[in-house]
């Protein structure tokens, strides 16, 4: 059942980035070309803020940005590696033939967003980066390597 997504995962990881919308892809590719890892870029995406600029929003930001990425990674693992709470969405996604990367990213974002109380549009590029960071490996092999991964007890929003 994981054959379809294995075709994508075993391909070049950077293809997850290349299929993002240009306004996201260009910034991410710039950071990658500067030598950042996929994980570094994901953290930069979450903590992005114009230097020396005080924001004039009328509300304070919520939660810990550091913990958020770990929470998101945990949810991606849970989705891909068979957590019961994602069974319906996972079965639906893996049952599709000819999966496209944009569809995979979107499906994961829509499924995971409610569990982290964030908008799916906010986490879609982060999910692409997490999928890219998996590297060229089959899903079952990757999941087997993640058995020691610990859940985040109290996920924080960025």
């Amino acid at each position: 059942m994981t054959v379809n997504i294995d075709i994508l995962l075993e391909d070049e990881p950077v293809k997850w980035i290349q299929e993002l919308p240009p306004y996201q892809r260009d910034s991410i590719e710039k950071l990658l070309s500067d030598g950042a890892s996929f994980d570094d870029v994901a953290q930069a995406w979450i903590s992005a803020a114009a230097a020396n600029t005080y924001h004039f929003a009328a509300s304070a930001p919520v939660g810990s940005k550091g913990a958020f990425l770990e929470s998101l990674k945990y949810e991606v693992r849970a989705f891909l590696c068979g957590d019961k709470k994602y069974k319906k969405e996972r079965d639906g996604l893996f049952g599709e033939k000819g999966l496209a990367r944009t569809y995979v990213v979107s499906a994961l974002a829509v499924a995971i967003a409610p569990h982290l109380s964030v908008a799916s549009a906010v986490i879609a590029p982060l999910i692409a980066l997490i999928l890219a960071s998996i590297g060229k490996v089959a899903l079952n092999a990757w999941c087997a390597s993640q058995v020691d991964a610990q859940p985040i007890v109290s996920p924080d929003r960025p």
């Binding site: 306004y23 992005a48 924001h55 009328a58």
Partner: protein
Amino acid sequence: MFDFSGISNLVFALGRSGPAGIQLVGTVFALNKPGLFATASHVAGTANQGLVVVFKKLSSINDYQDTSDTAVQSFPIQIVATDPFHDLCVLKADVGIASNIVIGGADQAPVGAGISSFGFPHADHGRMVLTQQDTEIGARVLIESGSIKAKHLVLNTQARPGQSGSPVFLRTDGLLVGVLVGSYAPGGGGGISLGGVDPHTLHQTTHAVSAEYLSRMY
């Protein structure tokens, strides 16, 4: 000079609805496609929950806005695209509102050019008064976010909480050249607060990100 009298039908407050009512979080404005709006990404935040466009009936920005009237109308809205490196966000609501704005950018706004911005200063105190600020471009600068450099305009005016997300137009032709995102503050400010005000922000060096980045997002 461009006629901005109808701007009250295009620029609104953004709020987050909760058990205690609606908390205003900044300014949002209608884009040139039905139901699409834009603001700064730090204003919209990361969650759709409770996000609403807030407005009072104003036929014109010249109407007297009753500051004692706390009754507002609202409709839900959701984040559809966010670019934290350029601090911009596009949102979608199930409404037919659209503007006829033309999106330009900092390249069309030379130093000294007259601009008008429209937003809701002091929204952090619950004040909801659509306010026009006229000033000039003081400088064009590149500001880094991570290692991503973005074009910004320095506006020679003071801004306050609630104005993030305000559209910045050229006064001559109404071209959208920027979106207000904050003011200069060493280290991003936040170190000192006197009565809720960071003294590092009490000056006339306001930052607006170039609107050109917005046109790629929808």
